[in-house]
């Protein structure tokens, strides 16, 4: 067991060191949700009226509504960013080094996932801090309660990135991931608008949003930020994590030889 934990610590530490060396990436990752929060939300505040819906107990501003969705956005983009770096690692060879360690491949991939998720969570808290400076605050205990929700959501989106990375042949194909995964996942969710609003436009779109695991990750975070528990969202997020992890393990199965697949 010690060997497992030693490897876990080293892989997480390596992710942290990488993060320290790429501070620009940290800032860049914060700019995107902050633009949505401080520009987009401010502009749409008047256009989108929000009624009281759980977990909120009173009318809220649009800026307040989209904060959990933007936390999810950070996790989503970082999950995809780490999938990009995995494809890069695969091409440069450092993924080979990781996968030839004498430990189960599933454990090694999980360690890598956990490391990148922890960096994402740091970014989410930095975002929440800046939002609080602009007077967009959650419940004080909610910041703590959100931690496990962020971890589970981050792992779910990380496993999605991991699964995708095993199927992306080359770095050049990454733009397709942006178009076909990130944007639909983000816009077809409750991140920017509640599902009942979407239902007013189209029942089908609403159903798609309801099936989207990203919606449930956002709702899990939203409820946690108000110290409430959303069991359905948790279940859905966990199910998606298991499914994506199984896909990733299949994708990285040495019998399939994807690690060395030529594009």
């Amino acid at each position: 067991m010690t060997a497992y934990l030693t490897a876990l610590r080293a892989i997480v530490l390596r992710e942290a060191l990488r993060f320290v060396h790429q501070r620009e990436r940290f800032v860049a990752a914060l700019v995107r949700p902050l633009v949505w929060l401080l520009v987009f939300a401010a502009g749409f505040r008047a256009a989108l009226g929000l009624s009281i819906l759980p977990p909120y107990q009173t009318y809220i501003t649009y800026e307040t509504y989209i904060v959990p969705g933007l936390c999810g956005m950070i996790l989503l983009f970082n999950g995809m960013q780490s999938s990009l770096s995995l494809v890069y690692d695969r091409e440069t060879g450092s993924m080979r080094l990781l996968l030839t360690a004498p430990l189960p491949r599933g454990w090694l991939l999980f360690c890598k996932l956990l490391g990148s998720t922890m960096i994402s969570i740091l970014q989410v808290y930095a975002f929440l801090l800046i939002a609080a400076l602009f007077d967009i605050t959650m419940e004080p205990l909610g910041y703590l309660a959100a931690l496990p929700a962020l971890l589970i959501s981050g792992l779910m989106l990380g496993t999605l990135g991991l699964a995708l990375s095993s199927f992306i042949k080359q770095l050049e194909n990454f733009a397709g991931v942006m178009n076909f995964v990130i944007f639909p996942m983000f816009f077809l969710s409750s991140a920017l608008y509640p599902l009942w609003k979407m239902a007013e436009s189209s029942a089908l779109l609403r159903d798609i949003c309801a099936a989207n695991p990203f919606t449930h990750a956002v709702e899990l975070i939203r409820f946690a930020l108000y110290t409430q528990f959303n069991g359905w969202a948790l279940l859905w997020t966990l199910l998606a994590t298991v499914l994506f992890m199984a896909l990733a393990l299949w994708g990285y199965d040495p019998a399939r030889g994807l690690i060395n697949r030529k594009g």
Binding site: R96, P102, G257
Partner: protein, 240 residues
Amino acid sequence: MSTGLSVTSVSYSYGAKQALRDVSFDVAPGQFAALLGPNGAGKSTLFSLLTRLFTTREGSIRIAGFDMSRTPRQALQKMGVVFQSQTLDLDLTIRQNLSYFAALHGLSGREAQQRINSSLDRLQILERAGEKTRDLNGGHRRRTEIARALIHAPSVLLLDEPTVGLDAAARQSITDHVHRLCADEGLTVLWATHLTDEVFDTDQLVVLHQGRILAQGPSATLRGDTPLKQYFLQTTGIAA
């Protein structure tokens, strides 16, 4: 053979394209074997199978007595690898890179640091342990990778064209170094290359071409009075 490296009847295909056909060879403990083949011979495919980056159902691979398909973790534990492409994190120091690798092999704390020091010392780069790998030249980066591959005291060392991209002096230095490691410490070495001047007469030679083994045996015996380069070109049919 209970130790060393043993490859028996290994075949592998990428879809319809067969990359390896019935490849078999043994490397005795403490022996330096050069896997000589032109580009596209199947060397990298064989290395991927030897390091379990992918697996095949056709044939078997044993590392230090451990079967790669039945006991992969024990086999990997006994093996050090230097990949063709560079696998150092350039933003980290030499010591950080090696500590990371040591941890992947379950080594940490004082024991890891002692092994890192001794491994770097063996490759004569201990005094540069605190430098970022980005600041090292190609030869020193390769030395770092070899030092890293030795931290967990493997009995088999695999090197996939480790001198690619190095100048003549660095190439010779690395080649001599690994030969010495083999002679002095009893390491079993498999060195893939397409350059005949990296093969010594005392080495075991395995000639791989178009996925098949064309010849194997002591280099001096195989080449006889013919220069190795000429022998290699004749054997592979590349010579005009």
